[in-house]
Assembly symmetry: C2
Amino acid sequence: MSSLSPTASPQDPSKAERVYRELRRRIRELALPPGAPLRKEEIALELGVSRAPVSEAITRLADEALVDIFPQHGSFVAPIRAEDVRESLFIRTALEVEGIRRVTLTADADLMARLEDNLAAQAAALQSGDLVLFYDLDEALHAAIFSALKAPRALRLLDAARAPLDRPRRIGLPEAGRPEATLAEHRRMVDAIASGDPEFAAAAMRAHLAMVARSVERELTQIETAQTTARG
Amino acid sequence: MSSLSPTASPQDPSKAERVYRELRRRIRELALPPGAPLRKEEIALELGVSRAPVSEAITRLADEALVDIFPQHGSFVAPIRAEDVRESLFIRTALEVEGIRRVTLTADADLMARLEDNLAAQAAALQSGDLVLFYDLDEALHAAIFSALKAPRALRLLDAARAPLDRPRRIGLPEAGRPEATLAEHRRMVDAIASGDPEFAAAAMRAHLAMVARSVERELTQIETAQTTARG
DNA sequence: GCGGGGAGTCTGGCATGTTACATTTCAGCT
DNA sequence: AGCTGAAATGTAACATGCCAGACTCCCCGC
């Protein structure tokens, strides 16, 4: 038993893992829109694998509320349901607030340097108007804070909880000034970690996520309106 | 598409689901001890299914850190690792503290009645010395608080996070007076919910889980000592 | 005696055939 | 025309066969 780490080494992603990542990416980017059927045979053919790894990938996506499986009938990209989005944000809030609280107690200079680097990059991305890069850095900042916990399962849960929040953001209209406000909130979070006060850091994270919640609710309203208009 | 809820109705558990529950129960109850090999062929034969649902069940158990999968070599019941146990408690703390905070804002008379009933049953169980029943009621109380959120995925995550905490408790020596203290902490949590103050309720939950953490660390030390003694 | 290598054995991951079931459709009846 | 139910369709879930890789262990060379 020389394989030091169980459950798949990172340099050897299984086919199921690769199918999972590919489908997840397409769903998050809306290349596979809500309601789209997922035909296993077809996907297997396209990705050059058999139906088995496709089935496993779809099962995992269903766990993340990105796919609805109707047994003996079909699997479909899940519609954007307000309750799912809110639940994802709840899970994310729970993990991140508790996470930053603990990270604040153990943060070292190395972590702070990485956070500062990220913030600088965020500012640069905003300056050049590269919002895609900015969102990637946003995600990276949260991941950097959390990964200092050395809690790989929790990090994975956080990643899964973030996924359903992407689709509303991509569909909703961008809010003027929101990226700048986001950067300011990130700045306060990092400063709070540096302060060493876990309650202060938790409050900063909570405030940030409350603003995210506000944006998400706004997006959900827009999506609802658009759907109603389209139907009516 | 008349199946109102996707992803398996409760009254029709798939074979994979049943295998998952059965294996999980055995691992939690230590009928399958840490390190025990999980031979798919054998398990499939015993439970009267094929290897496919057994594989899916084992994959899910690996997600919960109850099983280690060594690709191309074998699957084994995971040893009790302090880092896994602590991470599970972290996840549990994050979810439950945030959960009770929100439940406190929406608690109604019906929920409070159920919580009071549970507390009365806990007291009765302690009176009659039925610790197994007491622990079941403990789990039921936490689930009752949480399920008021109507967050099924979060509830499932909580359930998964609790599982790795069972084994240390079953192996470690029971601590005198701990059940009585636990009941008192539960009492304070329910009272805090009734008070309507989310910060107060969060603090009560946090205090309770801090005591759980203390017990768990004690159990981990005992297990470590026992293993060292056995080896030496 | 000791170390290294290679065949044997076991496993998980994957491919593919099979089954059972939810939905749909359409013929037959009212 | 409207309704009912039986057959057709398409799917997930499951069964089973296959393969490549990891570990074992023994044998050979030193």
